[in-house]
């Protein structure tokens, strides 16, 4: 399993209901089903991934996240996941609102554009960063809404979203004390556990 998924799964309660937005090949949902007896449904648009989900017995619905989630009832899931998909959405802020309408809590992971490597790339070359992790040029990238850890923190404050937990890791998904100390500078992948602020 992808190490960011390893971190995510710790935040998911046994026997809970999980909606995975952009569930890929269904490996996380399948893992949660078998180890935590989670009732999961995944949304996906890639045909090959959808077939993988069916093959491993994971519920999957062919649905484009950019067309909204109005077919899901408020409060119908415990946790709504959005792993490495935020930056590819046309209205990411809207989708996060929707996640917290549908789920009691949400988990969001995204590549941190504030990472020192991106900063160095842009500063030294003056061009949009292209890396192993973000292997697209600006004109053909599916990633249209990059943000940084600081940006996401600001959005949470603005939308009155409570950050239950935040962790950043590198591309090998290893965390460290210095990443915790300077998350926006050193973290390559940001992982947030969020909920509506009910205080």
């Amino acid at each position: 399993m992808r190490p960011d998924l390893e971190i995510i799964q710790q935040w998911i309660q046994p026997n809970s209901k999980v909606l995975d937005l952009g569930c890929g090949d269904g490996s996380l949902l399948h893992y949660l089903q078998t180890t935590k007896n989670v009732h999961g449904i995944g949304l996906e648009i890639d045909e090959t991934n959808i077939q993988h989900c069916l093959d491993r017995g994971t519920n999957v619905i062919e649905q484009n996240l950019d067309k909204g989630l109005s077919n899901f009832q408020s409060g119908s899931f415990d946790t709504v996941l959005l792993a490495q998909t935020l930056q590819a959405l046309s209205k990411p802020d809207h989708l996060i609102d929707e996640m917290l309408r549908i789920g009691k809590n949400g988990i969001v992971t995204f590549p941190n554009f504030g990472n020192w490597k991106s900063r160095l790339y842009l500063a030294s070359r003056g061009r949009m960063p292209v890396s192993k992790f973000i292997p697209h040029s600006w004109y053909n990238t599916p990633n249209i809404h990059f943000c940084t850890v600081k940006d996401f923190d600001a959005l949470c404050t603005e939308r009155d979203i409570k950050v239950l937990a935040r962790t950043v890791v590198d591309l090998e998904h290893q965390g460290s004390w210095y990443m915790r100390a300077w998350p926006n500078f050193l973290g390559e992948i940001a992982i947030y556990h969020i909920s509506k602020n009910t205080d």
Partner: protein, 400 residues
């Protein structure tokens, strides 16, 4: 039949007849005192009786879903592309049960059967049937066959509606529901097309108020017309263009597209007879159908479609209908199906989600319109196959 039986065919099959003497009270309040159901099975029921799979047929379908009845058959059963050893509905894994619904005309009791009370053809006296009535009779058949539960119930179009009815009415009896190219209920446009079909039958002078069999005739023209209209709604514009757009005239060579306007004799005749291939195709389809299908059955089947609305007992809320369903669902729709478009399947998916049910849904790109559910479209077949393989694996892992 081909010279030798293909290895992925169920081969020669013989239908069986099940007789039911216990009266069946129908949705309309009328009672069918006794009836017969003709059934085909493919594959073997396992010792634990956990691998039975029910096929529900659509409007013009019947029990003969796969294989051949005799070596002289030119074509196999109507869903042979999906049912057989190693196929999506794998008869090496499943015991497949396929029946002709009553009211039909392929062997089960229907309008062309003899009414035991009058010793004449039922004809128009055969009661109006609903999807719910069919599923009630399938439930009885299940008991008679000593099948404790279905590993899956599978159907397309009107068959998909029976699948939904199973999931709603009989929790605990269905583990997986596969509903393909269906709708939660018909739209006004759907009903309108059905009414044109019915009217063409009932206005045929040979209809004789439905008692045509007593007069030794049948409403051939009306049935033909009904089928021609129906057939148009099963195909998409793109399917017709490619089917009837093979030849390219001189001035169209640049575009190689004649919008499906292939000519029958290579030229326009400037008369009122058939000019275009699509016309002669529809005539052929209508004619062949009219020779093999009972007009009263056609009326009943289209009425069953029109009346289908599982929300009537649930304050118009389909999600409430699924409250007690405990099976896993797979729904599929086809991009060019304008009879039951993808939006209709998505309505069902939304209500299943609202009810908290486990559901998978695929929207298959296909040019063939509503007919796609009968055709071997690779992504569709692979999805159905993958889903049913999992059903089989769950069976195996649950076995004691």
């Amino acid at each position: 039949m081909p010279d030798s039986i293909p290895t992925d065919s169920v081969g020669l099959v013989t239908p069986q007849v099940y007789k039911f003497d216990e009266p069946l009270t129908l949705r309309s309040g009328k009672v069918l005192p006794k009836y017969e159901l003709v059934v085909e099975t493919y594959g073997k029921l396992n010792n634990e009786k956990t691998n039975a799979l029910l096929i529900c047929h659509a409007l013009s379908g019947d029990h003969h879903a796969a294989g051949y009845h005799s070596k002289n058959d030119s074509k196999p059963g109507w869903w042979d592309s999906c049912i057989g050893p190693g196929k999506a509905i794998d008869t090496n894994l499943f015991y497949v049960v396929s029946l002709n619904n009553f009211g039909g005309c392929a062997g089960s009791t229907g309008p062309a059967s003899i009414n035991p009370e009058t010793n004449k053809y039922y004809g128009p006296d055969f009661p109006v049937v609903t999807v719910r009535d069919w599923v009630s009779s399938q439930r009885r058949l299940m008991d008679r066959m000593e099948i404790p539960e279905w590993a899956a119930v599978v159907g397309g179009s009107l068959g998909g509606m029976q699948v939904l009815r199973w999931a709603i009415s009989y929790p605990g009896k269905v583990r997986h529901a596969v509903c393909i190219a269906a709708a939660p209920k018909l739209s006004a446009q759907n009903i309108a097309f059905n009414e044109v079909a019915r009217h063409s039958i009932t206005s045929d002078p040979d209809f004789h108020e439905g008692r045509y069999l007593e007069k030794g005739t049948y409403p051939k023209q009306g049935l033909m017309l009904a089928r021609m209209v129906g057939h148009i709604t099963y195909l998409s514009d793109s399917a017709m263009r490619s089917k009837f757009g093979k030849s390219v005239s001189n001035f169209e060579q640049d575009t190689a597209e004649n919008f499906g306007r292939d000519l029958r004799s290579g030229k326009l005749n400037f008369g009122l007879d058939v000019d275009f291939q699509v016309e002669s195709y529809l005539h052929y389809q209508g004619e062949r159908f009219s020779e093999n299908f009972d007009a009263n059955t056609y009326l009943l089947m289209t009425k069953a479609l029109d009346y289908f609305d599982p929300t009537v007992d649930f304050e118009g809320d389909l999600s409430k209908a699924f409250t007690n369903s405990d099976c896993k669902f797979l729904l599929m729709s086809f991009s060019t199906d304008w009879r039951f478009p993808s939006e209709r399947s998505r309505e069902i998916v939304s209500d299943l989600l609202k009810a908290g049910r486990e559901v998978s849904y695929l929207e298959i790109e296909a040019d063939q319109g509503h007919d796609a559910f009968l055709l071997p479209i690779p992504r569709y077949i692979e999805a159905l196959s993958g889903f049913l393989q999992r059903v089989h694996q769950e069976n195996e892992s649950d076995a004691p």
